[in-house]
Subunit: 353 residues, 2 copies
């Protein structure tokens, strides 16, 4: 099995290096994997002029799974749109058909103080957000900026087809079935026809899952309810744009976005795995970034793409043990605990494996 | 000066009745106002078959300001789109050109416990969200659901012209000038061309306001930052769709959305004023709804549409005094304080005027 390692920009290389050590540990134990590095994002622009170069495309298409660090940096912000690092990310998602973005939002009991919310509101928080990732206004056409009646207008197209909605709905219903059996679909059907279709198709798909309880919520209300009472949710499914906003809001409820992994899967569970946090150029190269979200992303890879549930659980347990032992990177540090660098955090997880 | 009273559905009539008493108090004191009732939303559908009937259109166009309760109810959810109560709201906004939606998010010191966030995160919270209200994907065309290649697709158009962006930017810069001089514009320029134009035009408009510090933030990050550290914000300006989501998220930070008013203004400060909460049909007619957001909306009306700053401030002080005295409707009740009904809350505000 071939894994592409796309470290990316900013803290990307440091955090991917720690996850790589974890993967190599399992290789030593007999897991048949090959790791191959590639360029994506700003580093790819620097090296080749393109955020998603042909060599990376080839590597990604051949790989069984991809581990990504993070892309982006202010030095790229003024490049023309097609050369910005994010375009590399959007292109790899689209090229590989990674339509199912899974974002588990879990609050570790050891980190409950990191949240800005009261402990009773977030203790035990465990939500799975299923975000559609290759459709919606992200990719819809027509799009652009042009002159109309003597002035510029900017426009984008929010669009979903029945089949796009149906396949992400199936992923969400199946996830809900494996969890508590509750699924909440988020839309803005009272204003947008596109999301009226979303609601209709999700409702129709529910017929194949009589064991799952489906509810619907408007996106503005969902943004409120995540703050008011996040534990009411188990699995949430929504489109690309609303998913971008709600999953980031939800992740911040934990107060420790340095801990949150994600998976982006195609229809055969080939996937790209990445921490949900960004490239944090301000702390890059200082050995203070938190590698745990990337290590947990590697665990998701073993689970979803390689069906190695035992290895995945072992990584998750090792991370939890490391937290119990009091090791904390800067972002989750609390007085009295052990301030730990990026590499040392990797050491501890390996020691606990 | 003519004020249209559109009580709407659910708790609308009860809460508007209390705000009406406050307005009549100022009329007695010499303020030259005429109040005229009209139908909007579900009650209008029941009476006329339309959520925004011609009589209401006429009344609204003639009025100098409109006080709205709330619209909507589950009994209307299955009506065809054009007959749903929300369409009345969208139609009145568009017809009157109410492009500037002002949503102050204020945490009253007396209500700090109502928030799900830790007191140190929200104490003193005072944000103004300026949301564009007559453009964006809410009104963009083409839109609809149709068959393409043998399956249904749903689509909407996010669209802004330079002039639409410029006029809301001016409103926001002027508000920032009257407050702390800091404005944060929210977009998704890394993905959407429409919001790239948004960022360009807001940046250009900033040249006329050298005394205001402008920053930009991506919408997903804004959704996070509102949870992480909401007090970093003073004035936020954004489009209709992102504004819908972020303003609801922000309002919930206070834990007491029964307290939050809003104004929707045209280019001559004619406006529609309404509480940000909904029609809450489950508690309608029970004398337990909180009328304060509607009373505070009336205060905003006196300030923005009628330039009656003194009267507006007097209402706001009376509300604050009522809270200090310990009067609380159900939604903001805490043990030990005085549980108060809708009408009694109106009594107390009047007594404190
Ligand atoms: C970088 C950006 C294009 C991306 C997105 O909006 O999808 C990011 O915010 C994410 O959520 O992965
Ligand atoms: C009722 C609905 C159409 C409306 C909107 O989305 O604008 C509401 O959510 C609001 O924010 O006033």
């Amino acid at each position: 099995m071939k894994i592409a390692l796309l470290a990316g920009d900013g803290i990307g290389p440091e955090i991917v290096a720690q996850a790589e050590r974890v993967l190599l540990y399992f290789k030593q134990e007999g897991l048949k994997i090959e790791l191959e590095p590639g360029l994506l994002g700003g580093c790819a622009v620097d090296a080749t002029g393109k955020p998603f170069p042909e060599a990376t495309r080839k590597l990604s298409v051949e790989a069984d799974a991809i581990l990504l660090g993070a892309v982006g940096g202010i030095q790229y912000d003024n490049l023309p749109r097609e050369k910005r690092p994010e375009q590399g990310l959007l292109a790899i998602r689209k090229t590989l058909g990674l339509f199912a973005n899974l974002r588990p939002i879990v609050l570790y009991p050891e980190l409950v103080n990191a949240s800005t919310l009261k402990p009773e509101i977030v203790t035990g928080l465990d939500i799975l957000i299923v975000r559609e990732l290759t459709g919606d206004i992200y990719f819809g056409k027509p799009r652009g900026i042009e002159y109309r009646d003597g002035q510029k207008v900017g426009f984008n197209t929010m669009i979903y087809s029945e089949s796009e909605i149906r396949r992400i709905a199936h992923v969400a219903f199946q996830a809900a079935r494996r969890r508590s059996g509750r699924l909440c679909s988020v839309d803005k059907m009272n204003v947008l026809e596109c999301t009226q279709l979303w609601r209709d198709v999700v409702t129709e798909t529910a017929q194949s899952y009589p064991d799952v309880t489906l509810s619907h919520m408007l996106v503005d209300n969902a943004a409120m309810q995540l703050v008011r009472n996040p534990k009411q949710f188990d699995v949430i499914v929504t489109g690309n744009m609303f998913g971008d906003i709600l999953s980031d809001e939800a992740s911040m409820l934990t107060g420790s976005i340095g801990m949150l992994p994600s998976a982006s899967l195609d229809d055969r569970n080939r996937g790209l795995y990445e921490p949900i946090h960004g490239s944090a150029p301000d702390i890059a190269g200082k050995n203070i970034a938190n590698p745990l979200a990337t290590i947990l992303s590697a665990a998701m890879m073993l689970r979803y793409s390689f069906n190695e549930e035992t290895a995945a659980s072992r990584i998750e347990s090792a991370v939890q043990k490391t937290l119990k032992q009091g090791y904390r990177t800067e972002d989750i540090y609390e007085t009295g605990l052990r301030r730990t660098g990026t590499v040392e955090m990797g050491d501890m997880v390996l020691a606990n494996l």
